[in-house]
Structure formats: C-alpha cells, structure tokens
Amino acid sequence: MKIQVTVNGKAHEKDVDPRTLLVHFLREDLGLTGTKVGCDTSQCGACVVNMDGTTVKSCTCLAVQADGSQITTIEGLSPKGELDAVQEAFWNNHGLQCGYCTAGMIMTAVELIDKNPNPTEDQVREGLKGNICRCTGYHNIVKAVLAAAEAKRS
C-alpha cells in the first residue's frame, strides 16, 4: 500500500506492506536509525517519535496508520547539526550512559516540556513513565529534563 509521510520536514511516498511497523519503516525504509527498538512490546519507549504533535511508541503503530501525518524523530530535532535545548541538557547533565533509551527519552521530554513548561520533579518522573532506562537510575535524566525546561523558559 502506498503511503505519504512527512518525516523531519521531508515528504516521502513509499509502498509498504500493511504489517510494517512505523519503527521499521523509519529505520529500514528511511534509514533513520536514531529511533531504537528495545522491547518491541510497547513498554520501554526506546521507539518514541512524535506524530502530528503527540508522542507515539512507533513499535505499536503501523506505518499505514501514519499515512498523511507529520513525524519528527530524534534526527529532526537538530536539522542543522546543532543541539536542541533538551539534547543540550542531556549532554550537560550526563543524562545518558549507553544511550539506547536516549532518543525516546528526549522525544518524550520534548512533548512533556511543550505541554508543561514548568514541570515539578514528580511531574517529570510521571511523564517519563513509559520510558525505561537500564543504565542511569533516572536521576540525571530527570535533572536534564528539569534543566531543559528551565533553559527553554529563559
């Protein structure tokens, strides 16, 4: 089936098997491997991307469901190569170790800060509920998100 999707500002028209998951479409058809597959069972959030303004777990979305939509992946946050405020805050606060969860964490954090520009620590932890990190213990991730929110406010 033919689908049209705009990913990180670029329009694509592709033929896909209906059972193709959005994450595989992004990684394999478009070569955007920043988005990861962790659990493949809707739990870990490594595959989170933004679709039409809200985050989705792209392992639990069919590419055909994304037909006609606008998608932003981690690659789209910094189109010119500079770091976006959330990426910068993860860097400065050591919000990652192996980095496997990071793309999903950042995509979730971007939406979180958009919806709530001045979140409390509890709200950040609650907002990251769908993103699992096996390395950091979350402390520096939460710090990074709070710092990013502050940076965006000022």
Partner: protein, 294 residues
C-alpha cells in the same frame, strides 16, 4: 515481531466501517491499535482485514448537554485527562484516564477500544459501571437488521475479552450523567508496576446529603472477568453517615458480591486479589468523600 499478513482498509465514516465489517467475516476494527497491534504481533489475533476507524470524525468529541456527558468512542485517554469538561462532569473518569499506562499509551488508546477489548485488567470498564454509563452501538440498518441500540455498561461486558458487540457492530459513543455538586467519585487501583493495568481496581460514586450517603454505586474490576457491581456495599452505605468505621464495614461486604470466578496469576493470587478488593474499595470511598487525601 510482525503480524501475519492482512489487508488494510481505512474507513471514513461509521456507515462505511459497518459496510466493510458486514462484507468480511475475517475483519477487525482498529482504533488506536494499542491492544490490537500487540495481539497481532504475538499472533494471538490474525485478522484477514484490518479496518482502521482511527480517522472517523463523527466518532470524536466530548460534549455535555442537559446533564449528560457524551464521549465519542475515538476519544483518547489523553483527551479525557486533558478535558476540563470531563474534569467538571465526571471527575472519576478524568482522574482514571490520567492513570492509564503512560503518556504514549494515553496518546493513542481510545475509550471505545478500551471497553470493546474488555481486558479484565482495564480501568475504564469498572469506572463506567460505577458511573452507570450507557454505550451507544451502531449496527447495520434495515428492517431485519439491528440498527442503533443502547446498552448499560453493566450489561455490555459479558466476560473476559467479551462484550455484547456483534461482529458487524461499532461502539460509537459513551454517555453518562453529569455528576452534581453533592456527588463524589473516585477510582483506586492496585496497579501492575510495569504496565499500570489494574490488578485490582475499585470505583465509587456516592451522593451525599451532608455527611449522610443517599445513593451509592460501586464496582470492582481487575480481579474478575468483567466488572462486578457491589450491591451489598451500596446497600450498606445508603442511609449511613460516612466515617472510617461505616465505610470499612460496608467495603468489607464486597466479598459477597464477587462470586467465585476470581483471577489469579503469578503476579497476584486469587486469594490476595480477593482480599485487596475490600481495601481498594475502602480507599475509593474514603477519597471520594474527602476523608483521605492522596
């Protein structure tokens, strides 16, 4: 993991979706896909055709008119949790929606998909039984066929993963009475730590005259194949002044309403869940009446 092969069709209206369903015995509707896609990936569901209803505008929308809150079947959990109208009309639903899964699950999962899937561990069925919600179902028109019908939440669920929905019917909307200022509601759950699904969930809606309860509707879920209304508890609450003792005594009676079909698994045994039902229900009533705070 990949699903087995299927044909994908996008329906643009309810009537088109019903038409597609009626012509294809092997078709399945998809709303947010957050129950169906995981099942298809595990190959526990293998529909020959997936009919995507996710873009149908007439299934969207939240309105309140003449004391009735009406929620379109495609309303996502996030839309419920972010709606001031839901907060002011049915606080229990607003709060419960926020406790479902995680932000991404709430962004995609819909109220219609949640109840149609009828997972015993879902939160919304229990809440909607306590709210005395009515489900509007659309089938094929014509003289010999069923058109539109309305089913009470308590009659909609017929067992684990089963409902009264016929193969070619679509749930279009859910309606419930707007709660008055003297009606208080709360949902309490023992959540599975990985998914937030209810191990045991309890919903209470109480109508108060001062400190005295005049009407009560309570339901528990998660531990039974479908939500169970706690009529013994309701009878014990009505006419009582609600305090720690009367609430605890009433909540303990839920055991009489549970029946013998209690779910047990490696995470929580049936005995344990049974014991927790009274505890969660007590929490729900305490919070509803303002005797306890989060």
């Amino acid at each position: 993991m990949f699903a087995t092969e299927f044909e994908y069709k996008k329906a643009n209206s309810v009537s088109e979706a019903i038409q597609l369903l009626s012509n294809d015995a092997d078709a399945k509707l998809m709303a947010g896909g957050h129950s169906l896609i995981p099942l298809m990936k595990l190959r526990l569901a293998r529909p020959g055709t997936v009919i995507d209803i996710g873009g149908i505008a007439e299934l969207q929308g939240i309105t309140a008119n003449n004391g009735i809150l009406r929620i379109g079947a495609l309303t996502t959990h996030a839309q419920l949790a972010e709606s001031p109208l839901v907060r002011d009309s049915a606080r229990i639903l607003w709060e419960t929606a926020y406790g479902i899964g995680d932000p991404q699950v709430r962004n995609r999962g819909t109220i219609g998909g949640n109840v149609s899937h009828a997972d015993p561990a879902s939160d919304l069925p229990t809440v909607l039984v306590a709210m005395d919600a009515k489900f509007t179902i659309q089938g094929q028109g014509g003289i010999t066929r069923r058109g539109s019908r309305t089913v009470a939440a308590a009659d909609f669920f017929t067992g684990a993963f089963s409902t009264v929905l016929a193969e070619n019917e679509i749930l279009t909307a859910i309606e419930m009475p707007v709660l008055a200022a003297n009606q208080h509601s709360e949902y309490a759950k023992m959540a599975h730590p990985a998914t937030s699904y209810a191990v045991v969930g309890a919903a209470a809606v109480v109508t108060m005259d001062g400190n005295t309860c005049t009407v009560a509707r309570v339901a528990v879920g998660g531990l039974t194949p479908s939500p169970v209304r706690g009529q013994s508890v309701e009878q014990a609450l009505v006419g009582q002044e609600l305090n720690a003792e009367t609430i605890a005594a009433a909540a303990n009676l839920i055991d009489n309403d549970l029946g013998s079909d209690i779910i047990g698994d490696i995470f929580a045994s049936a005995e344990y869940r049974r014991a927790m039902a009274a505890i969660e229900l007590k929490h729900a009533i305490f919070h509803a009446t303002g005797l306890a705070h989060h």
